[in-house]
């Protein structure tokens, strides 16, 4: 039923005296806040060029005694640094290859499993085509174009193979193998010509945030499930250890755990082992997230009626089989929203590696912000960093909502 504009206005904005007052007040506040912001961010802004372009705009503003516009030019100027830190420029093809492999796996999953994978693949494909519109160099554009091509190709292959059970098993195996493969591609071997070694100290930018998030998510999930099972165990010792671990980790802030991991992993390992900082940080994130996943899974396990377990036992299934094939699938499905929320937090919390002196996109952004060549402390940089996180976090929470709806979580 279509409602006319006037009627809509009356019902939604002016339905009562109180509401009308609120609407007017809100409208005034919005205009008061939005107009100068839009002026700053869009109308008076400098979009491209180098430091000179922004310095020029600053001079103009000073001479005409107005506020200078936003200096968005700082972002494309520093894009490579923001995205991959000090990764050697001639080796960035490896990052692109890893990304395309990842996208390829994604496409295969979408073709083989269908459903929501397909929607996610569509969004990724659409986004990569949109990104092509931004001013990137020809080389970068060539790589970006490869993404939807790889996606399309693997989706078709997956779709063709969708009835094969072996293909599905192979895909799961490939997913499990991917972190190792990615690690090898990205860090290389010393002395190799094809894949020269690149120290993890040079990994940086948004790429670093992703690597930490992906490793954290992949490693913390099985650990969390084990901890949840251990916490419910009838064996007192196992249960106590698990409870102590979970409650201790959950009581501490992530930054404390990162610092503790940095210090302890140096002290607690024998002198000859040296673990580099990135691995220590990944360990910290994994241990932290695993405790929260454990609590979520515990909640899921508690929500399964005992009748399921009893029925399974009555059918002759051993404890392991009931857990693995009856209880766990239902429990994990029930806590998907909570777990995805935790993974979103993990992605956002990767910005905390700032305190571990690792150069992620936030640290690099802050360094650029303070560079003297750009006029004034650069809030545009912070806004860009916030936006990069926002896009992925919003995408993940959107997919989570769609997933919840499709699985009927909370409706039965």
């Amino acid at each position: 039923m279509r409602i006319g504009v006037l009627r809509w206005l009356k019902e939604n904005l002016f339905s009562s005296v109180f509401n009308s007052l609120l609407t007017i007040l809100a409208a005034i506040l919005i205009v008061w806040f939005l107009v100068p912001t839009v002026n700053w961010a869009v109308l008076d802004a400098t979009w491209s060029g180098g430091p000179e372009a922004c310095a020029g705009a600053q001079q103009e503003a000073i001479s005409s005694e107005i506020e200078r516009g936003a200096c968005w030019a700082v972002i494309p100027y520093n894009m490579k640094r923001l995205m991959s830190g000090s990764y050697p420029v001639d080796q960035t093809s490896r990052i692109w290859i890893s990304l395309i492999l990842f996208v390829g796996l994604f496409g295969l999953s979408s073709g083989l499993f269908g459903g929501l994978w397909r929607m996610a693949a569509a969004v990724v494909g659409g986004a990569s085509v949109l990104i092509l519109l931004f001013p990137f160099s020809a080389v970068t554009r060539a790589w970006i174009v490869a993404i939807p091509i790889a996606l399309l190709f693997t989706v078709i292959v997956g779709h063709l193979l969708r009835r094969s059970k072996i293909a599905k098993r192979v895909l799961i195996f490939l997913w499990l193998l991917s972190p190792i493969a990615l690690g090898i591609i990205l860090s290389g071997f010393s002395g190799s010509e094809l894949l020269p070694a690149i120290s993890t100290r040079q990994w940086g930018g948004l790429f670093l945030n992703f690597i930490i998030a992906v490793v954290g998510i992949t490693a913390s999930f099985p650990l969390g499930v084990l901890l949840a099972l251990g916490r419910r165990s009838k064996l007192v010792v196992v249960r106590t250890v698990c409870v102590l671990y979970i409650e201790t980790i959950r009581g501490m802030p992530l930054i404390a755990i990162i610092v503790i991991a940095l210090i302890m992993l140096r002290l607690f390992l024998p002198g000859t082992w040296d673990v580099d900082d990135l691995i220590r940080v990944m360990v910290a994130f994994t241990l932290f997230t695993a405790a929260y996943i454990a609590e979520n899974v515990r909640g899921g396990l508690q929500s399964i009626p005992k009748g399921q377990e009893e029925a399974a036992h009555a059918l002759g299934l051993s404890t392991f089989y009931t857990m693995a094939f009856i209880v766990m699938p239902q429990a994990l499905r029930a806590v998907i929203p909570a777990n995805v929320g935790q993974f979103i937090s993990l992605l956002k919390d990767t910005s905390l590696v700032f305190f571990a002196a690792l150069l992620d996109i936030l640290s690099i952004g802050l360094n650029i912000l303070n560079e003297p060549q750009w006029p004034g402390p650069n809030k545009e940089m912070l806004i860009f960093v916030a936006l990069s996180f926002w896009i992925f976090a919003y995408f993940m929470s959107y997919m989570s909502r769609k997933l919840e709806k499709s699985l009927g979580v909370g409706e039965r």
Binding site: T248, G251, M252, M264, G271, K348, A386
Partner: protein, 378 residues
């Protein structure tokens, strides 16, 4: 039955093996640490700290490390307590706004929640500090808000109340007023329960307390409380309640961040009460305010309190990001002590211990409140 087939034996064996592995692991770690010549020794706590923390309770350079650590703890508690109160208020307002039928208010709250929730807290803290509080005008051109509130690069200044001569007498009256208010509250509640009608005993109690406070204020020969306004003297403002930009940025960042999460929790809680409840209470003749107070809110609170506990705990833990704005909280102070004394394991234990105690205390309080309001089932 053969021993190896007995489940009880297997259970005990499994636990013994597991415990053995854990102890072996612990011993291996202990060995590694000892072989590096590191000993756990807490005597550094009595040594002179050699540094001070700006923006904290009064202390000196030659206070011991333990006292400086305590200063850090007090700083953290300040942020947490004020933060929880303000974030709850903000979250409540935003949550209710999200449920409003007014499209504009609804969308404003939605934009607020969706933007803040999906951005990292650290980025927001830096934004508040660098892009907002440090951008305030210099002291000479400070912004003056009504009520003598002054905003400048050096921080926010509010007028501060302080006690005058008759303060002692008035505080005695206040105490008595408190007891009278409590008495009135209990008597009114008992009466309402006897006649089985809803009412507002809390308002009666507060009203009695307020009445006594106001009457005794005017009886006294002079005002017991004065307001100290900041005065511009020399190069800066003196007096009044001063909040440094570091503290203000941390507080604003934490409150706005946590408020967005609390808004979603409040919204989910109120939405969890089925529409039928509202309709039923309406058909029983209860007005909107009564419905809200007696039917909706108690049920909504049951859903709200557990996730709210987590958010309060998150705020307490997120206060550790204070070094982003330069505010020295417990974490920042312990890092300085660690750099000065080089004692790493002991500092780790102190940090972990403090946060654990903090989390435990908050959890205990919220669990007590949760037990009070939860569904009594058979």
């Amino acid at each position: 039955m053969k021993l190896i087939r007995d489940v009880r034996f297997l259970r005990v064996l499994a636990q013994v093996v597991f415990l053995g592995l854990v102890l072996l692991f612990g011993y291996w770690i202990y060995n590694n640490v000892a072989s590096k010549g590191v000993v756990v020794d807490f005597s550094f706590l009595e040594r002179t700290a050699g540094f001070t923390v700006s923006d904290a309770i009064p202390h000196q350079r030659d206070d011991s490390n333990l006292q400086l650590f305590f200063v850090g703890v007090v700083n953290t508690l300040r942020v947490i307590v004020i933060g929880i109160i303000l974030a709850s208020i903000l979250g409540l307002i935003a949550g209710i706004a999200r449920l409003s039928k007014n499209w504009l208010i609804n969308k404003i709250a939605a934009v607020y929640v969706e933007t803040i929730r999906n951005t990292p807290l650290l980025v927001q803290l830096f934004f508040w500090y660098i892009a907002v509080f440090l951008q305030l005008p210099v002291v000479r051109e400070a912004i003056q808000l009504p009520g003598e509130i002054i905003l400048s690069q050096r921080g926010l200044i509010f007028p501060r109340p302080y006690g005058l001569e008759s303060w002692e007498m008035w505080s005695v009256f206040l105490l008595e007023g408190l007891l009278v208010g409590l008495f009135v509250f209990i008597m009114r509640r008992r009466h309402l329960r006897k006649i089985e009608r809803p009412g507002f005993p809390l308002l009666w109690g507060l009203g009695a307390f307020a009445a006594i406070a106001i009457i005794t204020w005017f009886i006294l020969p002079s005002s017991p409380v004065g307001l100290e306004f900041a005065e511009f003297r020399g190069f800066n403002y003196r007096g009044g309640l001063q909040l440094t930009p570091e503290f203000a940025a941390l507080l604003f960042g934490l409150v706005i961040y946590t408020g967005a999460f609390i808004a979603e929790i409040v919204r989910a809680g109120i939405q969890s009460v089925s529409k039928g409840q509202r309709e039923a209470s309406g058909s029983l003749g209860l007005g909107p305010l009564q419905t809200l107070r007696l039917v909706i809110l108690p049920q909504a609170l049951r859903v709200i309190v557990p996730p709210l506990t987590s958010q309060y705990l998150n705020l307490a833990k997120n206060s550790s990001l204070a070094s982003a704005t330069g505010y020295k909280d417990l974490f920042g102070v312990s890092q300085t002590i660690r750099e000065n004394t080089g004692r790493e394991i002991e500092i780790i234990l102190m940090i972990a211990g403090s946060y654990l105690i903090l989390s435990l205390a908050t959890s205990l309080f919220m669990n007590w409140y949760n037990r009070k309001i939860k569904l009594v089932e058979r």
